[in-house]
Symmetry: none
Subunit: 419 residues, 2 copies
């Protein structure tokens, strides 16, 4: 079912709010095999709305519209719909009585604006909205359908879940299915991954598509399949996932919606290991990322942000000699920081980071972006040198991703190979 | 200047990512007086892209397109643009050499995909992209302009700021002037600020508009003026800024684009004070925010993330008795954490945070969102109790904002009143 989403509201066109409704709707629709072909955002403008309706009905079977149903003067979606269909707006007594009752319960009285809100295009099928005052409206035009909903996210979601999605599901069961699998990778760029799995990509069946979704230090590989039989699609996707898994196993940290920090947390819990961090240039960002996972207190004990060299010496027992001879940004320093953190927090593992995040502080031998990472336990320490860029915030985020990846590799190397 | 934004990418149409680029672009364009009339998201599909180009050129003067410029096979924006204009793709040697040099510096080699990425529509004016491998492309069609940029937010932002916005500004200067002033506030909600400055807002001259731009714990007040004479606009705006400043002085931490953490850094440097943090539930986020400011090493010494109670005792000398009788989330605990951090890091000031970020861990007396903040020096300590929501990540961010605001208030109260 070809679907268009239309978002109405001046606040979107001036960038005041981010349209999160469309992503929510697209996710739900996609899972049902309804293909979203276009997402359009337009202002609260009569002409623009009518034009969007013409265009939408010409190219899609289902139009889902949000916004512009409020009680204020700039909300003119209903007027535009009525003009588009050439129908009148008629007063809907039950909606008015419902609003009056709601306001009575809140101890407030309704205004003329609320009465105006109860005028509906006469060809609308009203969709009950438990979460707010404005009902959804469904219109049929031949075999095509238009649904207009409020823009408030939980109101839209209620109407979608109670009315719209069930109707689509019923209609779809007769036609086709769509399925997705997402493979999550870290530590390698989009194009290198592409060249490693080129043969697999070239041999993909006609009905399966592969998309690369890059993020900082990470790339998601999304396989999408279309067909008639959901079971066959799942089998076909699994086969491709297995082929990719066998080709780039060391890059994959998870599947579907897991975050890297969640995957690391799960890995630490699986091996019953606790962790602490000792951070210089990342300034606490790695600890923040680790602790953004609910329940991280089960494996995370604490962190020292050792920005000043004296703090590195006093709190992490980095030797003055090491700092003097090798510098704060050096492999020996991060090795000593790991030891210091293991001791201080009494954890099984520790991660240490020291580098030059920029924009200043670089030297010819150690330019901005020179960053040392170490991960270790009481027996082993593994180190990594990053040559990052010049952007401070990006360097910090990038370093945290690579530090987490180093933890993953350390655990795999030292705790998973002896089986 | 009528502007259309076109976002290309299957990942948007299936709801896998939220289109934040459009909101960023719309905000920037709006400030320059360029009116965004439509935001359109379409899949990585040749026909859809060409159709969007026809439609866009028919209704707008400026088309800004993002996405689909990566090195992988699903990225077909360039092919679509070349077909739309009826031109060839030609190999661009300088771009290829730049990519090769970049990869050499990273100690990696380029792939065939990178070479393919260097084929450009022959009518493209290339826009240098410091942040990534794909340059932006500018096309002229009569008096109309199309710009195609990568979808990675910081790459798009770089190209917009370096190339696109300056060009729009230049073009605009010939017709009318637009000027903005932004007042930055913290610690009070949008509607309470609105009611305090209602009289000023009601009396604004016809050509000046006030917009409220709310963020987490912060609200930006943007005054925009339109007219012919830039000097008159500046004077008129200054007058309104002064009126607002006189009405809500204690809420204002800065003007224009200063971040709260930059403002706090400047304040600490002005008073020659150093600072450290002791964090429990924020897990290093406050230290991260403070150290995201270049040059923060001049006032920031370090932080302890004391997630476990033992760490609070051992590292921050919080008394076992306090933790037992008052709990880790309590005013006495954060007071002792401040003392511990002052001692440990030998700073003039320290900030301590302990709370329940959620989603679990709440009790009837201390529900999720109960968060204590303390700021102190060797003589005084000021505390604040937050009753935040249930969302972990939002709570962490919100707490960091209020902690920074507490530092601001502490410095103003104790170091600025004795003049």
């Amino acid at each position: 079912m070809k679907t268009n989403l239309i978002t109405i509201g001046d606040e979107i066109l001036i960038g005041q709010i981010i349209d999160t409704n469309s992503a929510w709707m697209a996710t739900e629709l996609n899972q049902m095999g309804a293909e979203v072909e276009e997402i359009l955002s337009i202002p609260d403008d009569l002409r623009a709305i009518k034009k969007a309706l013409s265009r939408g009905f010409a190219q899609a079977d289902l139009l889902l519209m949000t916004g512009g149903l409020g009680p204020t003067k700039d909300d003119i979606t209903k007027k535009a719909i009525a003009e588009y269909f050439g129908v009148n707006l008629t007063f809907h007594q039950p909606t008015y009585e419902r609003i009056q009752k709601l306001f009575e319960r809140w101890g407030r009285s309704t205004t003329e604006a609320h009465r105006q809100q109860c005028f509906m295009p006469e060809n609308a099928e009203l969709l009950y909205n438990k979460m707010g005052t404005a009902p959804g409206m469904l219109f049929e035009k031949g075999h095509k359908i238009l649904v207009s909903m409020p823009g408030v996210p939980y109101e839209m979601q209620y109407i979608m879940e109670k009315h719209v999605l069930p109707r689509i599901k019923k209609q779809n069961n007769n036609s086709f299915a769509i399925a997705h699998r997402t493979i999550l990778t870290v530590g390698e760029g989009e194009s290198r991954i592409a060249s490693r799995i080129e043969a697999i990509e070239d041999e993909l069946p006609e009905n399966i598509k592969l998309a690369y979704l890059p993020g900082l230090g990470r790339v998601r590989l999304r396989l999408s399949a279309r067909g008639k039989n959901p079971d066959l699609l799942a089998t076909a996707l699994n086969e491709q996932v297995s082929r990719i898994q066998a080709t780039i196993p060391e890059l994959i940290f998870g599947y579907e919606k897991t975050s890297l920090e969640e995957a690391i947390g799960a890995l630490l819990m699986k091996h019953e290991k606790t962790i602490s961090t000792a951070e210089s240039c990342t300034g606490g960002y790695l600890a923040h990322i680790i602790t953004s996972v609910p329940g991280s207190s089960r494996y995370f004990q604490g962190s020292v942000v050792a920005y000043a060299n004296e703090v590195k010496q006093r709190e992490l027992q980095v030797k003055a000699k090491t700092l003097e001879e090798q510098g704060a940004v050096s492999e020996p320093t991060v090795r000593e920081m790991v030891k210091g953190a293991l001791e201080k927090f009494q954890t099984d593992l520790a991660v240490a980071i020291s580098g030059i995040a920029g924009p200043d502080g670089g030297t010819p031998e150690k330019p901005v972006g020179t960053i040392w990472i170490a991960v270790g336990d009481r027996e082993n320490t593994e180190t990594l040198l990053l040559n990052a860029g010049k952007d401070r915030v990006k360097n910090i985020q990038y370093t945290a991703v690579y530090a987490l990846d180093q933890v993953r590799k350390f655990v795999q190397k030292h705790y998973e190979t002896d089986s």
